[in-house]
């Protein structure tokens, strides 16, 4: 995974009925956009270090595209 500041990471629910989770990348600690990432969890304001697994997908945000995100 290669992320940039401002990207969003989506973590799929692991069980039926469990919602997806998401967090915002605040800082990239690895080389060349690699993990770990300092992330903020939604509106909770909590910041943690995040090590993406196979359940995580990256959503890049294009600053020039005011319409939203592309995967």
């Amino acid at each position: 995974m290669h992320a940039a500041k401002g990207d969003r990471i989506i973590i799929r629910g692991h069980r039926v009925g469990e919602p997806d989770r998401d967090c915002e990348v605040l800082e990239v600690r690895g080389d060349d956009g690699g993990p770990p990432y300092v992330v903020r969890w939604g509106d909770s304001g909590h910041e943690t270090l995040f090590f993406p697994g196979s359940d995580a997908a990256l959503q890049h945000f294009d600053a020039a595209d005011a319409g939203g995100a592309r995967s």
Binding site: I11, H14, T48, L49, F51, G53, D55
Partner: protein, 149 residues
């Protein structure tokens, strides 16, 4: 398969100064049941939802108590490049359900017994599929090799 390839869920880490309440909220928000506790780059412990209940709530600790007062330490680890089968022996010899996966001494993720069970059941399903097909649809005859008369 390498140990790091067996990880099914993302890992989340917090600092030892974070509180019990923060740890619980982060678990709820991120959907994980265990948080690695890192002091800088140094892995100093693991705190689980079970730790919060048994070592925190049950002992009536203040919600603002630090997580390093209830975490498990030292942490049982496995190297990221180790054969995944090595994890079976580590789980067998230690009363833990999760291993911290490290790469050159740095934490990179958490490998759980659940991860091993999921990988194992996927392998079993691959083996069972042709046997099931044979049972349902009958044996497929091998072609007789052509012979010269």
């Amino acid at each position: 398969m390498r140990a790091i390839e067996g990880i099914r869920r993302s890992g989340v880490a917090i600092g030892p100064e974070r509180t019990m309440r923060e740890a619980a909220e982060i678990m709820e928000r991120s959907g994980v049941g265990a948080l690695a506790v890192l002091d800088g780059d140094h892995l100093v412990g693991i705190v689980t939802d079970r730790d919060l209940v048994r070592r925190g709530l049950a002992r009536r600790l203040d919600p603002h108590a630090r997580v390093d007062s209830m975490m498990s330490s030292p942490v049982v680890t496995i190297e990221a490049d180790a054969d995944l089968r090595a994890a079976y022996a580590i789980f067998r010899e230690n009363a833990v359900r999760r291993l911290a996966v490290t790469e050159r001494g740095r934490f990179v993720g958490v490998l759980s017994i659940d991860d091993l069970l999921i990988n194992l059941s996927a392998d079993l399903a691959d083996l069972v599929r042709p046997v099931t097909a044979e049972t349902i649809y009958g044996h497929r005859d091998s072609p007789v090799p052509a012979t010269r008369s």
